[in-house]
Symmetry: C2
Subunit: 396 residues, 2 copies
């Protein structure tokens, strides 16, 4: 008999303030419902919870799509689901790429066996509509255009209208990653004409990671149902999953009950606040934080005019050590922010003000802590100037 290696102590993590790229902090109401004893996944009462969740997701996505449900995996499971359900060998796809999550889309699209055309942009900048236009000239029979609305690795919010129009003019479907925007910035699935979208629960929805809300319209569903081959992953096969979430209630896999409780509660909180009020709150706090950062000498990384309100990216100043500064924040303030990924590793910080964490309190706290971390490394940052600039935004 192999015995346990040691005595494992009680779970007692430090109380972090999660101001990184996600997961974000979670409302106590959401944490609390997860302690609710379980229902079975086919219990009539659980079916009602599924129905409520579908309704509330349609509200948050601003869609009437019947196929709107949370996949039983984290945000990346949603990306995998949407692309691997809509693409198969023989298909062609255009993927816009200017950050880690666009890069991941390319990887996933290629695994489906589809021919993939990549439209590359600079990290920290948007993809221009002309680039999409040019890609469709070279690949006019692309079945799908995939792009990232909110690029978590750069802090960019991609304009949608033109690229959707171009894709539709060429008869292509449009798939959108809104992991870091859903619930924190305007997302209008139906108004924008997005055919398929996916998100995560752990960003602006302020629910723990573990589910990935997705939505597909009738056009995307038609493409799904016209596949010639089976979806490669049984677990992510929407043709089967829709039979559990639809009227049929056909057993596919055991739904993550406690996470479903959490998501429903998080969505209820969003409905109580109202989407537009929530978007405005995110916008205001992002402006205040950015003003404060500028006042202490920090420079935004993401292209002006296209900055996410949920995730603010900043350039790490010359002569400041990224890792040391983040360690300072974690150890002295219990604040987590994120560093850069890939080509901007060590060069940018990513500060999330997402969902219930997007508050003036956190803005002031993050500014104070950042000033402290900078000063500790000899970069003279004035906390009072930062707080004053932020206050001015709130007072305006």
């Amino acid at each position: 008999m192999l015995e346990p290696k040691k005595k494992y102590g009680e779970l007692a993590p430090s109380e972090r303030i999660l101001l990184g790229a996600g997961p974000s902090g979670v409302d106590p109401r959401v944490l609390r419902v997860m302690s609710t004893p379980l229902l079975g996944h086919l219990d009539p009462e659980f079916i009602e919870i599924m129905d409520d969740t579908g309704d509330l997701l349609r509200y948050v996505f601003q869609t009437e799509n019947t196929m709107t449900l949370p996949m039983s995996g984290t945000g990346s499971a949603g990306m995998d689901t949407v692309l691997s359900n809509l693409l198969e060998p023989g298909d062609k796809a255009i993927v816009a790429f200017c950050g880690v999550f666009g890069e991941r889309m390319i990887d996933i699209a290629q695994r489906t066996g589809a021919e993939v055309k990549v439209v590359s942009g600079d990290w920290g900048r948007i993809i221009e509509a002309e680039q999409i236009e040019a890609a469709f000239k070279e690949m006019p029979d692309a079945k799908l255009l995939a792009f990232v609305h909110a690029e978590t690795s750069t802090g960019i919010m991609q304009p949608v209208d033109d690229i959707v129009r171009i894709a539709h003019e060429h008869g292509a479907l449009v798939a959108m990653d809104c992991v870091t925007s859903l619930g924190g910035a305007p997302v209008w699935l139906d108004k924008w004409g997005i055919d398929a979208a996916y998100s995560g629960t752990q960003k602006c929805i302020s629910c723990p990671p573990g589910l990935s809300p997705i939505s597909m319209n009738a056009r995307a569903q038609k493409a799904l149902n016209s596949r010639k081959t089976a979806v490669p992953s049984w677990y992510l096969d929407l043709t089967m999953i829709e039979r559990y979430w639809g009227k049929e209630r056909f057993y596919h896999h055991t739904a993550p009950i406690s996470m479903a409780y959490a998501l429903r509660e998080a969505l209820r909180i969003i409905a109580e606040e109202g989407l537009e009020a929530r978007w405005a709150r995110h916008e205001k706090n992002a402006q205040a934080f950015t003003a404060g950062c500028k006042a202490m000498g920090l420079e935004p990384f993401a292209q002006e005019g296209y900055r996410l309100p949920s995730l603010i990216t900043l350039k790490v100043p010359a002569n400041v050590d990224d890792a040391a500064a983040r360690k300072h924040l974690l150890q002295k303030f219990n604040i987590e922010i994120s560093g850069g990924l890939g080509p901007v590793k060590g060069q940018i910080w990513r500060v999330g003000l997402m969902g219930s964490n997007s508050t003036s309190k956190n803005v002031f706290l993050a500014l104070t802590a950042l000033a402290s971390a900078l000063n500790a490394q000899g970069f003279k940052a004035s906390a009072s100037a930062a707080l004053e600039a932020a206050t001015a935004v709130y007072d305006a």
Copy 2:
């Protein structure tokens, strides 16, 4: 603006006693830790939680396999992971099938592009070693033998030794489904020579559904690393996931933090009780329940000598309506038991006594409730005879 359809009320589900095929009831300690505020998925404290969880999973699987981790999905995600990581086009596999979960394995194995040979058995009976021997005669170059240790759809516990020996004599890897046995019945990964296994958290581990513990030995890892093609699902690609769980801590996807808290706590509870004591408890309660059922005139469905201690299957008596009886249990007693799937739909009941739900209290309660449901339909079942027979098992 699309508005929410209605006011969604506070979550207040009925207090069910989950004695079905899963999810099972969860220890209050496990429910409680899920309310713990989140750590980030790369936080040093979360890394420690991952390390603890890996250690404790190795204990529960009775293995020293380095690659032992919870996949971020439910039990079926584990099945999909193991098969789609070990098989690719050009490979050959033998899959043993005598229930829904064996059937699912066939579906998944076929999606990988591998040639699949099916060994069929009767529902409610084991697969005989001779059948496996015969299959390897016809497909001597099979790369993998996949079988279900604990068939949740029939209540059968498959003997392991002979079929593993046969597979290894032919140089094949062995993949085992132990979703319904892990933590409730003897599972000896290393002693049995199992090369890859997967399970779920929502059965005998008594943790909510949402994670799928898997384990692979060096032989299986070697096969994984010798693939010619990419794993079709990015989300389930172990070549990437092992880099997050391994020393490298390379970011793959955001781990489901709250579920990781829950799993660690559920595993701690198992370590405190001790695996062998836990197996004995499941065995004793299953015997008592089965004795009680027989005493009131119910007949076990699964083959004698090969019955799971965690899931007891019973034949629905002639002239008794399956659905009406289960409705009676749910409405009068708040008890969930499961009906049959596929060819035994309407013909069997599946009663789970799993993890923290495997107690003498639940045995007595389930017997009383079953007697009530049967009597309501005119089937004369003596609750007192049942309770007496169960008591005799405990007193022996």
